[in-house]
């Protein structure tokens, strides 16, 4: 190490050499210098202050390493943000350090530069010779300060950061998560370095939905909450319930509806559906049905015209005798399966979309397929048998099936209207209406749970045909020709049987179970306070359908995937067997055409036969002629 006090003559005024890396200080001991040189060479290429001549600083004694630190420190633009004083606690065992720290070695651009000359400090002549240990410390620190070529960090700064973070945050057992903290800090450093673009403020999708929900609040006021549901354990959490309630209110204000009720929630693969059941006040739906009829008639006219043209143009190929089975018309809006109109949306706050009315063909097909909903109403349903419609129709069909199967009410809540038709009428037409019973006396929840006969269905069940009221497809044949009518009757006598479903308001005890599982599971909740208890029915045929009753109030709700429970595995319908070909017979068997030679030979053979027949006659004629000639010769 250089002598203490150094040579006063060797001051910076001696002349500085830019980039002192090549300058080998002669006055230093070789061994000591080499290590410094390495550190200096590594870092000196980043030097911005060529005026500081390392060699001179070495000569000047113990403050040299401080100056080096400062210059090195300067080379990191982002570097550590700690003030210089912070890391200079290193080597704090030397009291002279403390003194010098306050003024700090000055750099050329700082105003204090040149005032305090190293080596002229008040205690410099008293400084003991820095031992080997000090040198080793300085070497070690220089090594730590070496920056990595790949990342631009150095270990010294990194450790400082890690320790600072740990001391700031004071986690428990920091030694266990030490590596993670280290990794996180490194990652953080990189982010700051490379991001020269300004981050666009992220527009989270949550903001949009929050806005929608806020709009709900702006328009309406508070309302009731369904306490029974919460007691029973069904139902969404309170926030969601409230939002849905507000959304329903909005729907009511937009559409002219008589009653509106939250039907339930169906889960889907991408999005869920929230469904509202609405009953229109009369007179509102007629417009739509007219539109549909107009469209149908227009189509029919088009078909007729086309048929006529075709007949004129071509000679008719034999017409097939296949007649498609008659289309069963859907039920009128407001009756049967279409009694209620359903609106859906994906999240409360979104606009409600009306579902189209359901047709029997869709219900029949929905019974055969099993598909999850995706959450988009226009998604196609790919299945076999092919579903006539898209997801909106499938959803509507499932809603109809669920309603028909699981909407129940306590016994006596509804009763039949006073007027009744004959029981002989087809379909029991007089029993479609029911009304609330003003004399309804609620049973206790305990009784409701004990036996299933205290609950009744109040929605007509859907027949196999797909409708609630049986439709005789043969009634249509009156429009067609009489002959065809006879043919049909001969071919399909069995379908004339009327389908009858269980009459309205049948108790649940007559519901069929699936094998040994009853159709409904009843429970009481909460169990410990029976006087406030709510009776809850869970359907086993449609998992997710709940019915609850408490006193005079009752409700039906559905939360689930929209699928029926089936015990065995679902076996999709197989495609129909391939149509057989026309049977092979001799009349259609092809034979090869005879060749020309064969034809000639055949002709020749035929002629020969004819000739033979004729020759027989000719011979007789010739014999007669010959006899005639001989007679002529004798006369001469």
């Amino acid at each position: 190490m250089a002598e203490p006090g150094g040579d006063p003559g060797r001051l910076p005024s001696e002349g500085s050499e830019p980039g002192g890396e090549s300058h080998r200080p002669q006055q230093l001991e070789a061994g000591a210098a080499s290590e410094y040189q390495e550190g200096a060479e590594e870092t000196s290429y980043k030097q911005h202050v060529p005026d500081i001549n390392f060699s001179q600083i070495y000569a000047l004694g113990q403050d040299s390493h401080q100056a080096q630190e400062v210059s090195v420190y300067q080379t990191y633009p982002l570097g550590t943000q700690e003030p210089r004083g912070a890391y200079q606690t290193y080597g704090g065992h030397d009291r002279y350090q403390a003194y010098e720290r306050e003024h700090g070695p000055y750099l050329p651009h700082e105003p204090g530069y040149g005032l305090y000359q190293p080596g002229y400090g008040p205690y410099d002549d008293l400084t003991p010779d820095p031992e080997q240990r000090m040198l080793a410390c300085q070497n070690a620190k220089a090594y730590l300060l070496k920056s990595s070529v790949t990342s631009g960090l150095n270990l010294y700064d990194h450790l400082v950061n890690v320790l600072t973070k740990i001391l700031d945050e004071q986690p428990t057992d920091p030694v266990d998560i030490f590596e993670n903290i280290s990794k996180d800090l490194k990652a953080a450093q990189f982010q700051k370095k490379m991001d020269t673009l300004r981050d666009e403020h992220e527009i989270l999708p949550s903001f949009e939905s929050a806005e929608m929900r806020r709009n709900l609040f702006l328009k309406s006021d508070g309302g009731d909450e369904e306490r029974e549901e919460e007691l029973g354990g069904i139902g969404l959490n309170r926030d969601e319930t409230y939002l849905i309630f507000l959304a329903l209110k909005k729907l009511v204000s937009v559409q002219p509806v008589q009653t509106c009720r939250f039907w339930g929630r169906i889960l889907g693969r991408e999005k869920n559906y929230i469904i509202a059941e609405v009953q229109y006040s009369e007179g509102e739906e007629e417009e739509e049905t007219e539109e549909e009829e107009v469209i149908d008639e227009g189509d029919k006219r088009m078909d007729l015209v086309e048929d006529e043209d075709e007949e004129k143009e071509k000679s008719e190929p034999p017409k097939s005798t296949y007649k498609p089975p008659p289309v069963i018309p859907k039920e009128e809006n407001g009756t049967g399966a279409n009694k209620y109109v359903y609106f859906v949306c994906n999240e409360p706050g979104e606009p409600w979309v009306k579902l189209p009315p359901v047709t029997p063909a869709q219900i029949v097909c929905a019974r055969k397929i099993k598909k999850f909903f995706t959450g988009r109403l226009d998604a196609p349903i790919v299945s076999f048998p092919p579903f006539p419609g898209n997801e909106a129709n499938y959803l509507r069909a499932q809603i109809a099936r669920i309603s028909a199967g699981t909407h129940v009410s306590p016994l006596g809540y509804y009763r039949f209207a006073e007027e009744e038709g004959d029981e002989d009428e087809e379909g029991g037409g007089g029993r479609d209406d029911y009304e609330e019973n003003p004399d309804f006396e609620p049973l206790s929840a305990f009784e409701m749970v004990e036996s299933l006969s205290t609950w009744v269905h109040h929605v007509p069940s859907i027949l196999k045909q797909g409708r609630c009221v049986w439709f005789n497809p043969l009634q249509k044949t009156e429009e067609e020709e009489g002959e065809e009518e006879e043919e049909e009757k001969e071919e399909v006598p069995d379908e004339l049987q009327q389908e009858i479903g269980p009459p309205l308001l049948t108790p649940l005890s007559e519901d069929e179970g699936i094998q040994n599982i009853p159709a409904w599971t009843a429970s009481l909740s909460p169990k410990l306070t029976p006087q406030y208890a709510v009776a809850i029915l869970q359907s086993n045929r449609w998992p997710g359908a709940y019915a609850f009753a408490c006193g005079t109030k009752f409700g039906n709700i559905y939360f689930g995937w929209g699928q029926k429970y089936s015990l065995g595995n679902h076996t999709p319908a197989l495609p129909p067997p391939v149509q057989p070909e026309y049977p092979d017979g001799p009349e259609i068997r092809e034979a090869t055409d005879p060749t020309v030679e064969e034809e000639l030979a055949f002709k020749a053979a035929q002629e020969q036969k004819a000739l033979e027949g004729m020759e027989g006659e000719e011979e007789e004629e010739e014999e007669e002629l010959e006899d005639g000639e001989e007679e002529d010769e004798e006369d001469d």
Partner: protein, 275 residues
């Protein structure tokens, strides 16, 4: 899900079919703590409920310090009194897979089923008799199956120490929004099967302390998980379509996550037809 976080979690997850009424939740809050004290578990998870025909089983799991160790499972019919279930053995799981249909709701009910193979006959001691399996065993076997098949955790939530035990990762800050949408950010919390089959390139990106489990990406059939953002993208909810009723929730950028099963305890074998 964590017992301590149960009320908040149920708020997030309740899709309506959880069947946990106010009474039950209150009972759970108290009884789960007592379980922790009595059995000396380090943490108690409320696993969910399996609905039987005549009653519902509520299931809780107790864990020790190593999260990958076999867990103790307890069931209750009223959320107040809990009984320990026997540990699930492979044999139990195999036999339970043969059973179909709903749970009865009575723990002592015995199912009778017919053997399938002649090979199985040799293993069982009773030849010619009908084999029975108790509902308790079926219950624990079903829970084990569900945990193995669809028990999931977010990536980096757990880490493996060099000694092999699995601990919670205290530096886990939650998944970001973009990460939360991807299935590759969630792992099956069970012995990994596909990990060894990954190519070397993929393995190079993995971090052995946190990526020691299978991710959901390669689950068969594809599409057996639904990922949804609920409550306006503040919660990401994953639902399994293979075991209908399993719901996993996570609030991105926070440490909250957990899963709960509320269903009939039957595998949805029709899944390929329904997608």
């Amino acid at each position: 899900m964590e017992a301590a976080a149960l009320p908040a979690a149920l708020q997030l997850v309740a899709s309506g079919d959880t069947g946990l009424s106010l009474e039950k939740r209150a009972a759970l809050g108290a009884s789960l703590l007592l379980l922790q004290r009595d059995y000396r578990f380090e943490r108690v998870w409320f696993w969910g409920c399996i609905q039987g025909v005549r009653g519902t089983y509520y299931i809780a799991q107790g864990l020790g310090p190593d999260l990958a160790a076999p867990r103790s499972r307890l069931y209750s019919l009223n959320c107040a009194e809990w009984s320990l279930l026997p540990p699930a053995t492979e044999e139990m799981v195999e036999r339970a897979e043969l059973l179909t249909g709903r749970f009865q709701g009575d723990p002592s009910f015995e199912y009778a089923y017919a053997e399938v193979n002649a090979e199985d006959d040799e293993n069982f001691q009773d030849d010619g008799k009908e084999l029975t399996i108790k509902e308790e065993n079926r219950l624990v076997a079903t829970i084990e199956q569900i945990d193995r098949a669809v028990g999931i955790i977010p990536r980096r939530a757990l880490m493996k120490t060099p000694l092999g035990s699995v601990h919670e990762n205290r530096s886990f800050e939650g998944l970001s929004l973009t990460e939360a949408k991807k299935l590759s950010s969630y792992f099956h919390f069970t012995e990994p099967v596909n990990l060894k089959n990954k190519t070397l390139l993929e393995k190079a990106d993995l971090d052995p302390s946190t990526d020691f489990l299978d991710s959901l990406e390669h689950d068969v059939p594809q599409g057996s998980w639904t990922v949804q953002f609920e409550k306006g993208s503040t919660v990401v909810v994953l639902r399994s379509l293979l075991w209908l009723g399993l719901t996993f929730y996570h609030v991105p950028m926070t440490k909250q996550y957990g899963y709960i099963y509320c269903g009939t305890g039957e595998k949805n074998l029709d899944l390929p037809f329904m997608l």
